[in-house]
């Protein structure tokens, strides 16, 4: 219900916003066309109708999956976006995995031994992860690893392999070397987030009675850490990472521009720069839909992971 309302509100906003920008006729028709030609074009595009009717036409077409054609590529906008989507999703998931691989162990360590120098260093650098401008870090990564050391390629997706009819970079060694740097760049913020969440979670659960009991039973510290503590801190980490997925896809706009990664983000920036309006509208609406779906999925997964939530909603 709420998500439906959001979707309608956003489509109205996007629609009005785009129409407030200017007259599409001036871009589409050559300036030396006479008055009659202009009027014919206006009628053909449905621009003579009152605004609310234009909106209804736009919505009914959108519901049929038609969000207009790109001025630049002369292809349906939705198709253009869907073509680039796998590259963006690949990047987003890659960065999630990197965030977990790096963030969880560091956070765990910082939580178990909070007073060591190493832990303090970890926590201090996590502040950096929050405040560093992502695009600049990306540039520095390129400078060090691509230009100075020459270890990793700086731009593009590299070789791709086809799976389910879609090209993926992570299936080939060359593609993997291409995705490593952008994914790490995109992961920076989330690494800091995971470190902080894990550390807070560990410090909290270590004081719980069941952990004390497990220790008193004489279980080895490794077993206590990984079975009793670890399981319980996974819930908040998974939830927050899930909620971050939408933000990651949105923020890949920046990373994709830095690393010339041919995904949706690069497409939208290029489209904004050449005022390719149908693509802009289509992208924004897709992102809104994506957000609503992600929030829904996270809610569902959360209830599956944490039985307490289920009981609470049943109780009320």
């Amino acid at each position: 219900m709420q998500s439906g309302f959001v979707l309608v509100a956003m489509s109205l906003l996007v629609f009005l916003g785009v129409y407030a920008v200017g007259d599409p006729i001036e871009i589409l028709i050559s300036p030396d066309a006479d008055q009659e030609e202009k009027e014919r074009a206006i009628r053909a595009l449905g621009l003579d109708l009152p605004l609310w009717q234009q909106y209804l036409v736009f919505v009914s077409r959108a519901l049929q999956g038609d969000l207009g054609r790109s001025f630049v590529f002369n292809e349906p906008a939705i198709q253009l976006i869907l073509q680039r989507m796998p590259a963006t999703l690949e990047l987003a998931f890659g960065s999630m995995i990197i965030a977990i691989i790096i963030g969880l162990p560091l956070g765990l360590y910082a939580g178990l031994k909070p007073d060591t120098v190493a832990s303090k260093t970890i926590m201090a650098s996590s502040i950096l992860g929050f405040s560093l401008p992502t695009f600049w870090v990306g540039l520095m990564l390129i400078m060090v690893f691509a230009v100075q050391l020459g270890w990793l390629p700086s731009t593009g997706r590299g070789d791709t392999a086809v799976l389910f009819g879609i090209p993926w970079s992570f299936l080939t060694p060359d593609g993997l070397s291409h995705i490593l740097m952008p994914a790490f760049n995109l992961a920076l913020f989330k690494i800091s987030l995971v470190i902080r969440l894990t550390r807070a979670g560990v410090r909290e659960t270590m004081l719980m009675d069941y952990v004390k009991f497990a220790r008193a039973k004489g279980l080895s510290p490794t077993r206590v850490t990984f079975v009793h503590v670890f399981k319980n801190i996974l819930i908040p980490v998974v939830t927050v990472l899930g909620l971050e997925l939408g933000g990651t896809i949105a923020f890949s706009v920046v990373t994709e521009t830095v690393f010339a990664w041919p995904g949706m983000g690069k497409l939208i920036i290029d489209s904004i720069n050449v005022l390719d309006r149908p693509v802009i509208v289509a992208y924004l609406l897709m992102i809104v839909v994506m957000f609503i779906v992600i929030n829904l999925i996270v809610d569902i997964v959360y209830t599956l992971l944490d039985p307490r939530v289920r009981l609470e909603t049943k109780g009320t």
Partner: protein
Amino acid sequence: MSTTTKTPVVAVETPFRRFVSEFAASKIAMVALAVFVFIALIAIFAPWIAPQNPYDLAVLDIMDGRLEPGAIGGGGYVHWLGTDDQGRDMLSGIMYGLRISLLVGCGSALLACLFGATMGMIAAYAGGKTDSSIMRVVDLQLSFPAILAALMILAFLGKGIMNVVIAIIIVEWAYYARTVRGSALVERNREYMEAARCLALPPRIALFNHLLPNCLPPLIVVGTMQIARAIALEATLSFLGLGVPITEPSLGLLIANGFEYMLSGKYWISFYPGIALLVTIVSINLVGDHLRDVLNPRLKK
């Protein structure tokens, strides 16, 4: 003789003095504050201390383009941080860029604060439907990533410093609104607000003269952090080519300009503006972080 007539100074502990001494207790925060003041001074006095006016095309010499740091250009002075492709002295470019970055960052954060705080207070004071509809908008705004919302607004409005400021205000006001509403809900039921109501003060005076000052501490903390966020957001948008116009480059645009030369090893065009941006943001964040510790009574020992 004069010393005897002087009354001995008694340290009266006013809230402000206590705040200052508590803030000064953290060395890191004091250093960060000093760094930020230094940066702000550079930005303010850039036209007088910069070796070159980077916007004056007459003094730019294309022959001085892409000089390495420390090289001496046609102007006869040392380019300590090198020059960019148009022969612009990077040190001067950074000083002027800081001006724009700080102006946009602080200005938009302040305006967003004004708007957001007003909305938050209205929500808390009015309650009921007004409250829930304002907070519905706030929730919606907060669930949407800042970069996307700003991108959307700039796609509609076009480039320009004013448009960037507007975009940042629209993106950030919700944080202030939520913060102020939270503390205003508590303060609303205090005795002094009851007194204000009994005296039949008009809502405007009750809100701004009595309620707002008591909601300030959390607002200051959020405001400091949001300045840093606004500066970073402006830099990112300018880097993407959607922010400030090319004639008045902010730090983000300077970094973007150097991007294409980075692959050929000419690192300084992007590197030094980035360092300036980094130091600015980190120093503001450190100050904000410590302010939160000082102003939050729950964290006090």
